[in-house]
Symmetry: C2
Subunit: 193 residues, 2 copies
């Protein structure tokens, strides 16, 4: 029937949220606690587990998130406010944590991430960004033209991407141990929802 087909089409559409600064702040504030609850105190074999060569362990991911707090998100937002798209962002070093995390414990990294995130969100709020500010253009060294809104939305999605990564790396440690249930576990079978 035409009516139910139309309804089906509507329901098939994934939901999307429009960017809102308050939502972004709420989401960004939650990441440190979530990864802390997941990882703190786990045996080291789990927190340093990987998906193979050139893939990251949970420990590596937290170091990467710290480096983002120090050099990526808020510094880029401030660059946009000060210089718009007249200066490209500094390139982000995806491997900085190899050195910066060296000799630290996971617990130290979790503390550091939480502290830096709190400070950065305080500073972000203090900028009192307007809708006009969110439209301001920036210049990404590889992607080209971007906006403040896209930068802040990406900060949120990037956090969540790494939450999926941490949970996936942990889950896959039992790829063999789950036996025939492997077929039901998308995180292990490799299918994505």
């Amino acid at each position: 029937m035409a009516t139910s087909d139309a309804l089906q089409t509507v329901n098939d559409t994934p939901t999307r949220q429009p960017f809102a600064l308050d939502d972004a702040l709420a989401l960004l504030a939650r990441t440190p606690g979530s990864v802390d609850a997941l990882l703190r105190g786990l045996p080291r074999a789990w927190t340093t587990a990987t998906e193979g060569a050139n893939t990251w362990s949970p420990f590596d991911v937290i170091g990467h998130l710290i480096h983002g707090e120090l050099t990526d998100w808020l510094p880029r937002a401030k660059l946009i406010l000060e210089h718009g798209n007249s200066r490209p962002f500094e390139k982000f070093d995806r491997f900085a944590q190899r050195e910066s995390s060296s000799g630290k414990t996971l617990e130290q990294l979790l503390d550091e991430f939480a502290l830096l995130r709190r400070r950065n969100l305080d500073e972000l709020q203090s900028l009192r960004l307007t809708e006009a500010d969110l439209d301001r253009p920036g210049l990404h060294p590889e992607l080209g033209a971007v906006t403040m809104r896209q930068l802040l939305a990406t900060w949120v999605a990037h956090d969540l991407d790494h939450v999926t990564q941490i949970a996936r790396v942990l889950a896959r440690q039992y790829s063999d141990e789950v036996g025939p249930w492997r077929a039901y576990l998308r995180v292990i079978s490799g299918q994505q929802g």
Copy 2:
């Protein structure tokens, strides 16, 4: 050089952990806190967001995890202890939360999940499972022969699968808002790993 090639081959292998009851307990104990930290207090548009028809929101996932605590994991473990593979497990109802979560808030569900999980882990510990118990056979109604060890490993991986799902559903709400950064965000572009 042969030496570094050999090393490369070793490093290419993803890490795997052998099943250990203490590890499983440590991981299972962390899930409620992690999803609570991620979700509690978020705007309802986010906690009820989905990836389209017949996909689950974070709210749906917590209801599903509750149903697992009530009817799946520990009840199946006790069935294996009592009846081995002479009786198949009850089938698990993947849609039970449609009714059981109805009228509840996310916060109620998070509290309920945390309470049930704590009780179930207490009971699991009180069973004092031996290595021989972990080898005990069970009968899955669809998958056939399984073991206690596989059941418990799957409980862990199933939790983490749903943590990835929750973070993915949230991240994808900004699929459009991230603009050109979409190319860098595996959780949005759909690439895994």
